[in-house]
Amino acid sequence: MIELLYLAASSFLLICVALFIALVFNGIERKLIARMQARIGPPIIQPFIDIKKLFMKENIVPDSAIPWLFNSMPAVALASSLIVLLYIPFAGMPALLQNYGDLILVLYVLLLPSLALAIGAFASGSSFAGIGAQREVVLMMSYEFVLSVVAISLAWLFSLCCPQANAFAFSTITSKPAWLLVGGAGFLGLILLFISSLAVMPAKAGKLPADIGEAKTEIAEGVLVEYSGRNLALLYMAQAVRVLAFASLIVALFLPWNLSSLIAIPEQLSMLADFLFFLVKVFMVMFASSIFVSAVTARLKVDQAARFYIIVVFLLSLLGLLLIGIDILM
């Protein structure tokens, strides 16, 4: 019982910290993109200001909407993207709920925010939102393949190295970096898998060049067009947390090093150092896959994006799987 309470309390704490970090990262991202575009940009706390403002605003439900579905989906989106963080090793520590779920669960739960967004948009009854939701679903179907290939290859690798453990569990995956388990071909394979998971990021995060479901100049913010006030604030937070969650997932899969295991750090400071090092890693992943990319690309059309993910990125990840297979079987 005490243990359960302890778990609940620490989960709550982690969720609050994660939400805060996600919004700060969102603020930094906006500032950085602004600087790259030779603008001054908003202050870093702008996301907090925006959310405060949105919570004060009226929450409008269109006449054509199905209210319960329309109103519940933003909460589902935020909740599901926060829950993911409990299953992924976060901030240098093992995952809080690591005994209750593994990589497969995480991939499924990570799907929920996009799905909730699409369902909420369909429920709004607006044709702009409907088109946005269609696009969101098409995009989702095209990039999920890639993530499953990445998961399968890593699990295969770990199942051979640690035969007695659950290969999909994060405790196994983060026990040693995958890079140390493979030879030349496998190393190349891992690089390809890493690149393809980074390539999925813009679509997962709803950022350029794959912000197709929103596409401001085409369908006027698409899936978000009917949302306002509290619901929009929830979706905004869900979006920010989703980016953080996916970046943490990539970090957990490919960059599981802790600072305290790399260099000598006094015992008392090691947790803080690991925490900061984790934030740096996550931010690097976000910068490489989403912030920089969205500053230098135009928006793709949905068929172009789907083709890119199904053909280019999927083949890239399959090639990675093949190389890892060669490495394992040789």
Partner: protein, 407 residues
């Protein structure tokens, strides 16, 4: 509306369009099946107001027809009046008019490139082109006193000269743009995402362009070598051998797609730079106004009976002003045909076979200026005007004009 079809209104208020025009798109999935365009949301009756003032007062109105082309509208208006009144503009003023008009073309094309990038979601390019555009606005302000509504043209010349002292700053700006031009070429010609979004999208064939009387860069991108500056030179353009720019200058082929329309405008920035440079070098000395005394000019204009037509190559294409004077204070008729009006109908064949995602960039690719194009309004919303009725109305209007009373 059939089943499986979705009607999407783009405009009059939509983030893709900065001005009110309604483009109703019928979609099947993401594919555009049908397009209809509705105008008339920003009709201001400028011509009507102009018929109640003397020409010099109306000049200020002509400047306010368009927020972007506020040199070419007064230029066309002045030229029309000068044609009607047989006023000979001093040669130096003709050159100065070319310089101002070309500065405006640079600013307008940079604005277009930014808007086009924004429609593609490429906001970094939007901010870059608009940052670069500041320089030309600064020069315009330095030379005329205003960034946007320049109030520099006058019937019979221009109001302000470019002195020898001002030259270095203009030259410096030209050099700056020489450098920027290379970067613009890199961005718009070689970027893979821009290519993916504009190549073979929104094709207007040469035949369609001719049938729909497309003008300006829209027509030139489809391979029609048509440019008022080349065909019917006004101001000092006859001395400057302007040549209409088609995309094959750079790409060796003409596809008439959105990409070509962007390329033509990028190339025209270069052309404008060269024209300004030549004008600065070859500009003769002399007066800049036909009649500096305003009252004497007005008295002379009051004696004029006759009509004047002016054709001017605006950044968006051929602009026509028609003026009829009948020995009175105010003109008897003033008619503006803005380039966007001629180009709007070519949106329909362009959008054929496009997807919804292409609609904003294809519409933006003719660089529509809706405020210019709104020159008529149907007061009775239920009235249906077919071709015959419209023709009859036009005939009546012309007859009334000939009789000398149409106010």
């Amino acid at each position: 509306m059939k089943k499986n079809r979705v009607q999407i209104p783009i405009g009059p208020i939509h983030p893709a369009l900065k001005e009110p025009i309604q483009i109703e798109v019928e979609l099947k999935g993401e594919h555009v099946e049908n397009v209809s365009i509705t105008l008339g949301h920003v009709h201001r009756g400028i011509e009507w107001i102009g018929l109640r003032r003397n020409p010099v007062q109306t000049l200020a109105l002509a400047e306010r027809v368009c927020g972007i082309c506020n040199i070419v509208h007064p230029l066309a208006f002045c030229t029309a009046i000068e044609n009607a009144a047989n006023i000979k503009v001093p040669e130096r003023a003709e050159y100065l008019r070319v310089i101002y008009a070309e500065l405006e073309r640079i600013h307008s094309h940079l604005l277009f490139l930014g808007v086009a990038a924004h429609e593609l979601g490429f906001d970094s390019i939007l901010h870059y082109t608009w940052l670069v555009r500041e320089k030309v606005l600064d020069v315009i302000e330095y030379l005329t006193g205003n960034r946007i509504t320049k109030a520099i043209l006058m019937i019979g010349g221009v109001r302000r000269d470019i002195t020898e002292k001002q030259m270095p700053k203009v030259r410096e700006a030209l050099e700056y743009y020489e450098k920027v031009y290379k970067k613009l070429c890199d961005v718009f010609l070689d970027d893979p995402t821009i290519n993916a979004r504009t190549r073979d999208i929104g094709v207007l064939t040469k035949k369609q362009a001719l049938q729909l009387c497309a003008v300006g860069p829209t027509a030139r991108a489809s391979g029609i070598k048509k440019d008022i500056r080349q065909d019917f030179p006004y101001a000092a353009y006859a001395d400057l051998d302007v040549e209409a720019i088609t995309p094959d200058v750079l790409l060796n082929e003409i596809r008439g797609d959105t990409f070509d329309r962007v390329v033509v405008r990028v190339l025209e920035i270069k052309q404008s730079l060269e024209l300004i440079d030549r004008c600065l070098k070859e500009m003769p000395d002399g007066p800049i106004l036909y009649e500096p005394m305003l009252q004497r000019l007005l008295v002379q204009l009051r004696q004029v009976a006759g009509e004047g037509v002016a054709l001017v190559e605006a950044p968006r294409g051929e602009l026509i002003h028609y003026i009829r004077m009948e020995k009175s204070e105010a003109p008897l008729a003033w008619k503006i045909r803005a380039p966007t009006y001629a180009n709007l109908s070519s949106i329909v064949p362009m959008l054929e076979g496009c997807e919804l995602a292409d609609v904003p960039i294809v519409v933006a690719s003719i660089d529509p200026c809706i405020a210019c194009a709104n020159r008529a309004i149907i007061a009775d919303k239920n009235a249906v005007l077919d071709q015959e009725k419209l023709h009859a109305l036009s005939v009546n209007k012309t007859r009334a004009l000939l009789k000398g009373g149409s106010k």
